[in-house]
Amino acid sequence: MIRFIAKRLGSGLVVLFVVSALTFVLLYTSSGSIARNILGDQATPEQVALKEQELGLDQPLVTRYFAWLGDALSGNLSASWFTSEPVANSLATRIPVTMTMVFAAMILIAVCATLIGVAAAVKRGWVDRVVQVGAIVGDSIPGYVIGVLLVTVLAIQLGFFPATSTISPGVGPEAWVYSMTLPVIALLINGVTGGAQQIRSAVIKQLERDYVRTLRSRGITEREILFKHVLRSAAPAGLTVLSLQLIGMLGGVVIIEQIFALPGMGPLAVTATAQTDLPVVMGVVMYTVVVVIVVNLLVDILNGWLNPKVRVS
């Protein structure tokens, strides 16, 4: 098991390296004249050259990448070209906001999708039909459109929630809950509808397996069959669905934060993209990849725990 985890971790680090290198090359070879961009049209060629030297842009690409990598490994992700704030600092203040929302939404999705999906698989009838229709509706409306509609109706028209966040450094947990309820709902609706549908089919598939009939013939109760055997066998499929949803959500949350003006990763990423603030963009990409790798590692470990075949080999 430890070897299995170490192997997974190792391949995660390789992925991190490859993605960082590719992103770096992509960003720094294609983005035209960066220095002129920063200084504006009035700058003289001398000023531009000076700025390029200051940013290290006169060095060869490979040198610059390894310099960046060396810094990154020691925790220094360099600074924004526009605000000069160290990228690591910006990330540190924004990640908690974003991660709180993402994890709150993921936990709620896991719980709701499992409950609804299992209910639909076992009870069939109207619950099942609601889940089927819900999945279609959920697939049809992008999460951020739901966010926009929620703000319009619940915040602006009815005033139940704030339309823009009241989170700022030092506010208490009530403000977080108050500000995050709507965004979290906007984040989780697609996840719950889609997830419930997939967990439903996974459970139905397991319920039709031969060993379920044999367990019934041995006098094991339906409840025990469902919760001990069927859910366990359906869990790997569910975990895969959840991890894919989480990857999608890391993107979706950017728009949601923009809609609700939350001080998370979203606004940082959007501003940096619009300004071509490359060190910040690099930082955002790295944070995302790290989160994904950690989550995938957790999923692998859980799957290994659930499936004895993986555990043995």
């Binding site: 459109v145 979706g252 959007v270």
Partner: protein, 640 residues
């Protein structure tokens, strides 16, 4: 090189296209019969027409701004009003549709162009290419789409086309995986082997046998991916990172959101357009999937929702009687209490979509006494397994008892007039007094639990003994069924033991709670003949030692001769003949039994015809009469 030339030469003389069109046209017909299919086609078709005709239909240019008329309410000139810059909402919506559909097409096109060939190659040839592409795919799939598009935007600036090409690359793994899995599932199908033996080139095999398998899933996937592309593209534009000179639904939504306090309706139109388009795609995908499913399967699914079937024929009075019967179970007929099991005029049926009931067991009566082995013999579709499962109460959910009764040890488990097996009464008996030995040893053990766990738990639940006691008993049972090292097998997972060993474990499980009746459904069919002989010895020895009644379902007269005291022969759901094992095997009265025994090879002169006179074409082998539950399972469409 030569491959492609030969493909052409091969393809030309064969009526390949013909069959393709036949298959496709039935799918399209089914699609058009489905109201959701038609609705989605109408929605998407109208949006496409509006998009194509946008330059003609739109009263204004996409960026034409009338700054004297901003945020106007709908009127005769601007039928949906104007935005904050005085641009016509209707016109922008039309141009937005154009851009949206084109970008979705581009994205899906790029993704297919990369994912499909890569998936075909990886699936068909495997090897290094598959290893490398799997690795690339795992990286691409771990990158959130929007973050990648932000990076692309930072690198290349705002362009719908570049971002959609990038997203197409990013999402191509979904086609890759779909294709690879589909190809792998058919690569080793015997019909592909047969094509190889015929000398078909790889290209021809892929084109003829493999591409047809991925075609439909790819269409379904494309509907889904186009929807995702529209969502993400408009999201990017909503963030203000799109091309500012183009009218798009994302930009319009963002514009509406900025003016949400003044004119919230500006939000409504682009949101509606998006939901309709994506919803249309999702519905289309679902409808195609439904259309592809076998007619059999569709019926099967419908059966799950309660169908009036049997009850429609019944009067309310009868139903009330049945309800009454459920509360107070009638006493069995006097003089029959001593039978361990007595099945009387049993009928089992499956309600069909058209309201009729397909009977799979019809008017079957027999009994089993203590210490007796009854064989139920028949070919596939004879209803022998369905009969056995109705005694166990483990019929599929949609099955109905349409006639007759079943009694166990002097009490009804299915009383006359009941249309379902009474689970309350049976769950008290199952595992404790009635147990079951399945056919396929491996699939009947839960792969996630040790063999020990799966033996111990039923004993703890049913007998109420402690885990330690149960463990001791389980080890003894494993030794009893002839397992050399019980301790090791106890701790093993099912995938760590052989099929014969697994069947012994299942037999141990079946006798663990000292039942009175064991129902064995083809218990040796999946085993090698030498293992079968050992298992038959084991069953005989256990049955005699524990004096249990056994119902043995089998198609093998050798197994019948080895174990059974009495035999019933079934055909097409009906009981053909009943008698002692010697009567049935030596002097069968019914023609069907005679035919079956006549088909046995044992004792026949080699190299002579078995069926004489040579039969006319096929009439005897007409399709099986098994219901959805039995043979149909083996006949599932692989495309689904």
């Amino acid at each position: 090189m030569s491959d492609s030339v030969e493909t052409a030469a091969v393809a030309a003389p064969m009526p390949v296209g013909q069959s393709g069109t036949v298959v496709r046209s039935t799918v399209i017909r089914r699609l058009l019969k489905n109201p959701l299919g038609i609705a989605s086609l109408v929605i998407l078709g109208s949006i496409a027409v509006l998009a194509v005709l946008a330059p003609v239909l739109a009263p204004f240019g996409e960026n034409f701004a009338n700054i004297t008329k901003t945020l106007a309410a709908p009127d005769s000139v601007n039928i949906l009003g104007t935005d904050s810059a005085g641009r016509d909402t209707w016109s922008r919506l039309l141009f937005g549709a154009q851009l949206t559909l084109l970008s979705a097409l581009l994205c899906a096109g790029v993704a297919i162009a990369i994912g499909l060939p890569a998936g075909l190659i990886a699936g068909y040839y495997g090897g290094k290419f598959e290893g490398v592409s799997n690795w690339v795919v795992s990286i691409l799939m771990s990158l959130p789409g929007l973050i990648v598009l932000l990076t692309i935007r930072a690198a290349f600036g705002p362009s719908v086309w570049i971002s959609m090409i990038a997203f197409g690359v990013l999402i191509s793994p979904s086609y890759f995986r779909l294709t690879r899995t589909a190809v792998q599932s058919v690569r080793n199908e015997l019909y592909v082997d047969a094509a190889r033996v015929s000398g078909l080139s790889d290209l021809s095999i892929i084109a003829r046998h493999i591409f047809s398998v991925v075609r439909a899933p790819i269409i379904i996937q494309t509907a889904a991916i186009a929807g995702v592309a529209i969502a993400i593209q408009s999201g990017l534009e909503f963030l203000g990172l799109g091309d500012p000179t183009r009218a798009t639904w994302g930009v319009m939504l963002s514009e509406g959101f900025k003016n949400v306090y003044l004119t919230p309706t500006l939000l409504l139109w682009p949101a509606l357009a998006m939901a309709l388009t994506i919803g249309g795609l999702v519905l289309l995908g679902n409808a195609i999937r439904d259309a592809l499913e076998d007619g059999e399967k569709i019926r099967h699914r419908r059966q799950r929702t309660p169908v009036a079937g049997t009850s429609a024929e019944r009067t309310t009075a009868e139903r009330a009687k049945a309800r009454q019967a459920r509360k107070t179970v009638a006493a069995v007929d006097i003089g029959t209490e001593h039978h361990l099991v007595k099945v009387t005029h049993l009928g089992v049926g499956y309600p069909q979509a058209d309201g009729s009931v397909k009977k799979v067991v019809d008017d079957v009566s027999f009994h089993v006494d203590r210490g007796e082995i009854l064989g139920i013999v028949g070919e596939s579709g004879s209803g022998k397994s369905q009969t056995a499962f109705s005694i166990l109460g483990l019929l599929p959910d949609n099955a109905r008892i349409v006639a007759g009764s079943i009694q166990f040890d002097g009490n009804y488990t299915v009383a006359p007039g009941e249309d379902r097996v009474n689970q309350d009464r049976l769950s008290r008996l199952r595992g404790k007094r009635i147990s079951y030995i399945p056919q396929e040893p491996m699939s009947n053990l839960d792969p996630a639990f040790t063999i020990g766990y799966q033996l111990v738990t039923p004993m703890v639940r049913v007998l109420g003994i402690t885990k330690a006691e149960a463990r001791k008993r389980a080890l003894k049972l494993l030794a009893d069924v002839g397992i050399a090292n019980p301790e090791r097998t106890f701790q093993a997972y099912p995938h760590e033991v052989s099929g014969g060993m697994a069947q012994r474990v299942l037999i141990a499980g079946a006798i663990s709670c000292e039942p009175d009746l064991v129902i064995a459904d083809e218990p040796t069919t999946a085993l090698d003949v030498t293992v079968q002989a050992d298992v038959l010895d084991l069953l005989r020895e256990l049955q005699q030692r524990l004096n249990i009644g056994v119902i043995l379902v089998t198609h093998n007269f050798g197994v019948v001769a080895d174990l059974c005291d009495r035999v019933v022969v079934m055909q097409n759901g009906r009981l053909v003949e009943e008698g002692t094992v010697r009567e049935i095997l030596r002097s069968p009265k019914e023609k069907y039994t005679q035919t079956l025994l006549g088909s046995m090879l044992e004792g026949k002169t080699p190299m002579t015809m078995l069926v004489s006179p040579p039969e006319g074409p096929v009439s005897h082998e007409s399709g099986s009469t098994a219901p959805a539950g039995q043979d149909a399972a083996a006949e599932k469409e692989p495309v689904a």
